[in-house]
Symmetry: C2
Subunit: 411 residues, 2 copies
Amino acid sequence: MLIPTTKEAPSDATLISHKLLVRAGFIQSSGGSGLYNLLPLGKIVLDRVRAVIKEELDRAGCQEVHLPIVTPISLWDETGRSNKFGDELLRFRDRHKNQFVLSPTNEEAMVNLVRQSLKSYKQLPINVYQINWKFRDEIRPRFGLMRAREFLMKDAYSFHSSREDMVREFELMEETYKRIFRRLGLDFRVVEADSGAIGGSGSKEFMILADSGEDTIMVCESCEFGANVEVLSEENSTCPECGSNLKRTKGIEVGHIFQLGTIYSKPMRAEFLNQNQKLEPFIMGTYGIGVSRIIPATIEQNHDEAGCIWTDETAPFRVDIIVAKPKDGRQMEVAEEIYSGLREAGVSVILDDRADKRYGFGVKIKDFELIGFNYAIVVGKDIESGKVELIRRDGLKREKIEIADILERVR
Amino acid sequence: MLIPTTKEAPSDATLISHKLLVRAGFIQSSGGSGLYNLLPLGKIVLDRVRAVIKEELDRAGCQEVHLPIVTPISLWDETGRSNKFGDELLRFRDRHKNQFVLSPTNEEAMVNLVRQSLKSYKQLPINVYQINWKFRDEIRPRFGLMRAREFLMKDAYSFHSSREDMVREFELMEETYKRIFRRLGLDFRVVEADSGAIGGSGSKEFMILADSGEDTIMVCESCEFGANVEVLSEENSTCPECGSNLKRTKGIEVGHIFQLGTIYSKPMRAEFLNQNQKLEPFIMGTYGIGVSRIIPATIEQNHDEAGCIWTDETAPFRVDIIVAKPKDGRQMEVAEEIYSGLREAGVSVILDDRADKRYGFGVKIKDFELIGFNYAIVVGKDIESGKVELIRRDGLKREKIEIADILERVR
């Protein structure tokens, strides 16, 4: 497996997640600023995160579609965003001189999809989403995947015949997002937010707590309340919900949900026939998750001096089997038995059987700590007494366990 | 579920697959020429095809990575393809005036990934692939997904220390591709091909047989031999392998495998240290599959007057339960029991319970035939005698069966 670990961090890397993800062989520069190749381990982590998001959205009744990344600028002209959006919107012409954008977000394209597809209040509500690569021409892309120019985003859009129904869906999405981030094992807060460039009113952000976060948030010491500092006056130091103290902390934005209303549907004449056979603009909500950004955010929150510490749902493999001496036939045999047993039991597992003299035992342990699989199982001379060493990555606690107990311990 | 079926085909559609995929609500125009939105059913079919491809490639030892679609033109300058590739290569500049291409293929980017990641013959061979959207600025995009400007492609690249090992991998990929297309239930031929613009020598194409195919191929009446007509002289009417007659037929290219040699690695100085510690360029192979193209190709091969006929592995749902009178409480109850029972047994199933008067029984049957699920189960008045009607889409054979036998019949 292609896992090119290295001691060298990129010279431009300042964030620990950027350094560790490159050093541990998850990502590498593609040669363009702010553009990254995902290596096999990075692709596995991304697929795992994506699968959790899809599962929870589908369970909540959302429907997945796919839009091209190349979008006719004529759609953006309908809302006037082609002028309002600055240089982050990459524009280009095709061979026939028609103008397009590389989509950084897809409100117009999704409104267009829905206005072409349904007409009646009877077909509402509907919540359609895609998980697709987007492009934002950042002036100074840095921080690795955290602020890459090409990034994977889940963008969902809901369409309703009444404001109340849109608010119901907004609340359902808030609960769905909480399920997603809880399943991913992340420490997060939902905060009241400013609605920013996308417009609309009523919006909440999902923040992964990390000291390196770009956003400053105020969180209540007693209840779940939190708010982006932008929406609270600085003097406001007590919780508006329970009166307890608010404390200042840092977060990384990984999700954002908005109540949009009709600000896109009106200019785009995206309308449905209501119960009185009158045309009305769709009432909309929009719900984003920065899918590729969850990878560095997870590491900003979960790492130590030695490397990455993935959560159960984000780890590229749950177990790393380290063979102390791969040239020892008996050790290899036991390692392969453990490997097959775990695979059969549905545990994701990788076998580090590198035998070249450059990859001694110490290198394998260092790679385990740097990459951050949930557990290592060291197959060494203890096998004579039926034992292996089990190391839990989070905390690096080591203990000798019976081979027969492995599955129970790592499951 | 958003399935906007319609009687109207797009006015520019000439291919039957283009007409049917739009009419059955799988795809729709995104507003840009040659750019298509995948609606929920289209996304499901694409995901199913993609999953089969990934499973077989992973089984064969390939490793999935992900490259950005935006590629620095500097990589294409290294091989000189930035000049050789015509207007189909979409070029643009970012806000800093740096030049990029929207990748139509990724030889350079993948060679760059590998030369940055490994150095020694001991780390070879390796076969890395991605399944990602690509862009080709077709002068006259038409034929729907068959020749879209933005399309999903699986592109794999293998790296070896010897020509023999590359040929071994080429043969493994030929077998892997055969497994993939067999699993997808498609009637296909592997044909000797011209190596075209990508260069190199030794190449085979995978053709889905269909009267509307753009490629003319000669296939042997007795053995497996086939060749693109471009590589055979017109007079050549006997099989070079067994001497039987060759007959002319049409195919749609959905896969292509090449023996590349060093034509990319040499100019890009992508080298490894051989056993004598000397630098040598990687010896390469490349292997493509037109993932999104498989969708229309499947329909070109499998349709009738009434609509699409998906194969077992490509159908968006295996079973469509049609409730004749959704307002009949007993019918709905039985339909929902069948629905739950099939879901629990792992059979993908959709329940057509549309109750609006516009959606009478005839409309539901027509939609079933147009969309092309593998089976319909009609829940109507026969439930009084414990029966439903089973319709197999391929052939439209109808029969009354016991409710208790449904699972056995549709599994």
